[in-house]
């Protein structure tokens, strides 16, 4: 189906189902209950899930397939964001031209950086991409202020030309839309019993794009081109002995993953029309790496899982505070309650980075394949157990 093997098509269907039903799946707890803060089904967070999913899918095409570890991917996200805001300022609040431009600009940017950086490999490549990203960050923050808004960031303002829509009146704000048919911020709320489900236009727009991006990435993984990229990862020297030049392939992979990042940047701006330089800082690049590794580099679904996992943590775990903890452990005897809360407290709320760091270390040490490998191991363990159980139950009576 759609040029995919059966297994991949099933995976695609699962992703489609999950993203389309996300408002239900992510809201398992009724409104107002104790567990309601674990609900992730609000538009802002769901949009982040899919947008950072796109970012991680793109990064995975580079890192997962070729093994080139780019530490400057956030630069493309930032460039894409700026491009999209400029489209809003100059043309109209329609998201389609904005996203197209952000993909193109990020692609061109990736072509330039990639052409230079890919002359080297290994750690030198990582440092080169890091250097380029930090340079872009520093320039966006200082000298390029007319273009990027500097410290205050870039956002649509009254007085922008906006050729198609006409200039904004003072005090009027505009929200991004889709050909004037939908507004990205429109939502439909559905109350069933104690549950409230929110269906947001922006989320579904981003989700459809993510599904397309995911489909393209499956096609790349299964194509001869993807095979070439994997050959680069496993043994570049041997590949060049067979008369193949690795550079065009790595450059293509770099540009594609840069375009994915630009797409994610454009989408971020489409949901919330502003862009700032901090999006390009090297910690943002580090976060992309974390997402991909945590989920499982080189696997199809891993990066999406990793992105969702980190964004969920960032938004949910960081909201847990002392009162919440006291609410959970009220049933314990007083002394033990205090001890438990004192132990857990440093890991939640403001300290969620600590949990993330520990988790990330554990994954790198014990599960180099990320969450996907963890899932596979569990599945394998369960599979092994079942026949064993059947056998033992079958043999025991005989003895």
């Amino acid at each position: 189906m759609l040029g995919l093997e059966k297994k991949d098509f099933r995976l695609l269907l699962i992703v489609v189902a999950l993203t389309m039903l996300a408002p239900f799946i992510l809201n398992p707890f009724p409104e107002g209950s104790d567990m309601a803060q674990f609900n992730a089904g609000y538009p802002d967070l769901m949009q982040r899930f899919v947008i950072f999913g796109i970012l991680a899918i793109g990064f995975n095409i580079l890192f997962g397939l070729t093994g080139y570890l780019s530490f400057g991917h956030a630069a493309f996200l930032g460039v894409g964001s700026y491009a999209a805001v400029w489209m809003f300022k100059l043309l109209s609040m329609n998201v389609v031209p904005a996203i197209l431009l952000s993909v193109i600009i990020a692609g061109v940017f990736a072509l330039i950086i990639g052409y230079v950086s890919l002359r080297r490999s290994g750690i030198y490549f990582s440092i080169l991409t890091l250097a380029f990203a930090q340079m872009s960050y520093a320039l966006a923050y200082s000298v390029l202020t007319p273009l990027t808004g500097g410290e205050t960031g870039l956002q649509p303002k009254p007085g922008d030309p906006r050729i198609l829509d006409g200039a904004l009146a003072p005090g009027e704000t505009a929200t991004p839309g889709f050909f004037g048919l939908f507004d990205m911020r429109d939502s439909l709320e559905l109350s069933v019993g104690g549950w409230v489900f929110t269906f947001n236009v922006g989320y579904y727009f981003a989700a459809v794009i993510m599904i397309i991006a995911f489909y393209i990435s499956i096609r790349i993984f299964r194509s001869p081109f993807g095979m070439m990229l994997r050959a680069i990862k496993s043994n570049q020297t041997r590949m060049s002995y067979t008369g193949l030049n690795a550079r065009p392939y790595t450059l293509a992979a770099f540009v594609i993953s840069g375009m994915y990042a630009g797409l994610a940047g454009g989408l971020l701006v489409s949901m919330d029309p502003q862009a700032g330089a901090e999006r390009m800082f090297w910690t943002a690049s580090g976060e992309i790496v974390l997402m991909t590794i945590l989920g499982g580099a080189g696997t199809l679904i891993g990066p999406v899982l990793g992105a969702g996992f980190i964004k969920y943590f960032e938004n949910i775990v960081s909201k847990i505070n002392k009162t919440t903890l006291e609410g959970w452990f009220y049933w314990m005897p007083d002394g033990i309650e205090d001890v438990v809360i004192t132990i857990i407290y440093p890991f939640v709320g403001k300290g969620w980075h600590l949990t993330l760091g520990l988790l990330f270390m554990l994954v790198v040490i014990f599960l180099p394949g990320g969450l996907v490998e963890g899932g596979q191991r569990i599945a394998a363990a369960l599979k092994r157990k079942k026949p064993d159980d059947a056998k033992s139950s079958a043999t025991e009576p005989a003895e």
Binding site: R119, Y124, L128, Y141, S142, H353
Partner: protein
């Protein structure tokens, strides 16, 4: 001319920090072949050793001073640091004043221990894994260390002053025959520069003139052969990791009066130090030191207003720009050896 001297001097203190961190990074890389992203965190921990020591030295207890009264007429309670009780008031004051240099004594064993624990507990298991894995696990470790420090010390910078003997500035203008006040340079930055020169010299002397250092250098050149000669090279490399950690820690200890430390100072320095290492040439100790000072001085030249007027923003990007140019024209960096990190 005076401007040029001033910029060179300005570059020296930053350059010293870069050089010290890069030296440690290169030591670890050259001996163990590990890319240590947690090295900036070691620098930061050194800085916080200094903060902790100065806090401990000012620990005090309340004593009722009969001679003075507070505004209610009751006898005044005064905080008396414990060091007063132990050494008398004069010596106690001096000790508190010299808290930062005194921290060096504590920092060396603490940092060496941290280095040992890191190497034996974590990094040892990553020798056979790809470089990407090493980068990632040490990156995770850096986040953890950083967050632990943030939990205990908070997110705000903690100012810790230099000894009062070094608080002023030195007027180089007079010394070199220029106008007075043309070149003013804080004493502590001079101290920092000389300190780093001493540390760097000590590390090089240790490697060059001791038997232990000779074995380590042999191990860096050809680990397998040294192992076959019946020398336990792993043990010595562990010691080198401890030394590298101590060098980074000392850089941090003495840096505290220049910039109040906060929990992410390590990361800020780490990125630049990596650039320094790569510019100097992976695995080359003199290269790392030279590149550290060179980039520090270049950075301060780029922030001269005359330069900024011609090329706006150059001060922000000069280091990265130089790194890109050097990596593309001299792939092994300034003094890189052949065959290091070239797979």
């Amino acid at each position: 001319m005076d401007q040029i001297i001033l910029q060179i001097l300005n570059g020296l203190d930053k350059g010293s920090a870069y050089a010290l961190i890069a030296l440690g990074l290169t030591l670890i890389f050259g001996t163990l072949g590990v890319v240590n992203f947690a090295h900036g965190a070691l620098f930061m921990m050194g800085a916080f050793v200094s903060v902790t020591v100065s806090k401990l030295l000012t620990l005090s207890h309340k004593v009722v001073d009969e001679t003075r009264t507070d505004f209610l007429g009751n006898p005044l309670q005064v905080d008396v640091p414990y060091v007063y009780d132990w050494f008398g008031q004069g010596a106690g004051d001096a000790i508190i004043d010299w808290a930062v240099p005194i921290s060096i004594i504590f920092a060396i064993p603490i940092m060496v221990t941290i280095g040992f624990i890191m190497e034996r507990g974590l990094i040892k298991h990553f020798y056979k894994r790809p470089h990407a894995d090493q980068i990632l696990v040490t990156f995770g470790l850096a986040i953890v260390l950083q967050e632990v420090i943030k939990y205990f010390y908070g997110a705000n910078p903690i100012p810790t002053p230099a000894p009062s003997a070094f608080t002023g500035s030195f007027d180089f203008g007079v010394a070199f025959g220029f106008d007075p006040n043309a070149i003013i340079y804080p004493y502590w930055r001079l101290v920092y520069f000389f300190f780093s020169v001493i540390v760097i010299g000590a590390v090089f002397a240790f490697l060059q003139f001791t038997t232990f250092g000779m074995v380590v250098r042999a191990g860096m050149a050809d680990r397998e052969t040294v192992g076959m000669l019946g020398i336990n090279i792993d043990k010595r490399f562990t010691v080198m990791f401890g030394i590298a950690a101590a060098v980074a820690g000392l850089a941090g200890v003495m840096y505290v009066p220049i910039n109040p430390p906060n929990y992410h100072m390590g990361m800020d320095f780490l990125v630049l130090s990596f650039v320094v290492v790569v510019v100097g040439g992976m695995g080359s100790l003199p290269g790392a030191v030279a590149a550290g000072f060179l980039l520090g001085i270049l950075e301060s030249f780029a922030s001269m207003s005359a330069v900024i007027n011609i090329l706006p923003g150059i001060n922000q990007i000069i280091i990265y720009l130089v790194a890109i140019i050097i990596l593309l024209t001299r792939p092994r960096g300034l003094m890189g050896r052949k065959g290091v990190m070239e797979e």
